[in-house]
Symmetry: C2
Subunit: 234 residues, 2 copies
């Protein structure tokens, strides 16, 4: 296909290791944001990386809203406060006090918020790959979130995904029309440090599951014939 030249694009072991370093050191950041501004060229790079996510039928259903105004972030934070109070009430007595002690967002501390949305009508009435799995447009936008998160980590920038929010409050704060689906509100900024482990794991909320407990071969809950591969799993 002359319109699509072949590229070998081989990765060296050093390049491969950098990608794994990024994946294993990515954290959901809540409490370590610094006020340092993110240079425009850095922000442009991580947004471009997000825009190069895979999308079903190449529909690229996302929009990005970069939130820098303090007043706007305060409206998002107020929506979080409301939802978080409600959320605490949903836990049983034992976990409620633990929940309340957790720092779960950095909306006001992070200098930048980024909202990623999904336009479910983009690409017309029939989209390749979405004919039998209608949710694929939403999933494409989630891939854009993960690309942004990893690109930011490689820029030594922290990202935290705030999901303790009502969509209608987020829509109101950012003037998002009713036909557009919010996917993620991300707090983005430089950080004092990254933790070695996810905060909920370190706090004893839940352990990291052993991979071998969720890994099957050829059919659900089958592990026979896969001893060699399992031997390489930590």
């Amino acid at each position: 296909m002359s319109a699509n030249p072949i590229q070998t694009g081989q990765f060296s072991s050093a390049e491969r290791d950098a990608v794994y370093k990024c994946i294993f050191n990515r954290r959901d950041v809540r409490g370590q944001f610094l006020p340092d501004p993110i240079p425009d060229e850095v922000l442009a790079r991580i947004l471009t990386a997000s825009h190069y996510a895979p999308s079903v039928g190449f529909m690229q259903p996302w929009d990005f809203i970069v939130v820098r105004e303090q007043n706007t972030r305060r409206r998002v934070w107020e929506a979080f406060q409301t939802a978080n109070r409600e959320a605490a009430e949903m836990f049983d007595d034992e976990r409620r006090s633990t929940y309340r002690a957790l720092k779960l967002e950095g909306i006001l501390e992070a200098p930048v918020g980024i909202c990623i949305t999904c336009d479910r009508k983009r690409g017309g009435p029939v989209v390749i790959g979405r004919t039998h799995q209608g949710e694929m447009d939403l999933y494409s936008a989630v891939c854009a979130v993960q690309n942004l998160w990893l690109a930011a980590r490689a820029e030594n920038i922290g990202v935290g995904w705030v999901s303790i929010l009502r969509h209608r409050d987020l829509r109101a704060a950012l003037d998002i029309p009713s036909n557009i689906q919010p996917i993620a509100y991300l707090c983005v900024g430089y950080v004092s440090h990254f933790f070695v482990r996810p905060e909920l794991e370190a706090a004893g909320w839940l352990p990291r599951m052993p991979l071998r407990e969720v890994l099957w071969f050829d059919r659900w809950h089958n592990q026979s014939g896969s001893e060699a591969l399992l031997g390489h799993i930590g």
Copy 2:
């Protein structure tokens, strides 16, 4: 927090560039798979990278089914065939023949399939961060897909996401119980080459959208005050 030591984990510019190389050179692979087996230690690494995706409330809702049996992949391929015939009928006359000429999956050629699922009950009745956005468990599993995709690319392995499938057929082929939600069926294998551009873009199906057409500041469809950042966007 002594249970969670601080790690600086700074990325060098070479490491950062490797992450961007991975993000920009990832492709949805359909037609370039080689039969070469994937070594167990390599497969273990990309599965581990997937398992280290972010998850809401650290619920880690995913399971992985590694599909290597030819008969099982054939059942998945048959499900694709059925869905793809139906899909072609949904396009108007003009696009139908173009659609039919597209190679959209490599289920039988790729030596490995990986199905990623979501257990929506994992983590108990109340999950941190899922109290107001119930879809966050599904989105976590999608982040695991994207981690796997990028890790595979860094291993010079191609991945293609096949979404032209009915969930019920995929469940039947892989014995997935009814309480488990399939998220993605991925074709995974070494490839003869990676294309420079996404195949649907190269085929003229849809163009890459300019990022500046989907990038807003502080509120939907606002670009005022952001000229400096837009100057860095290609």
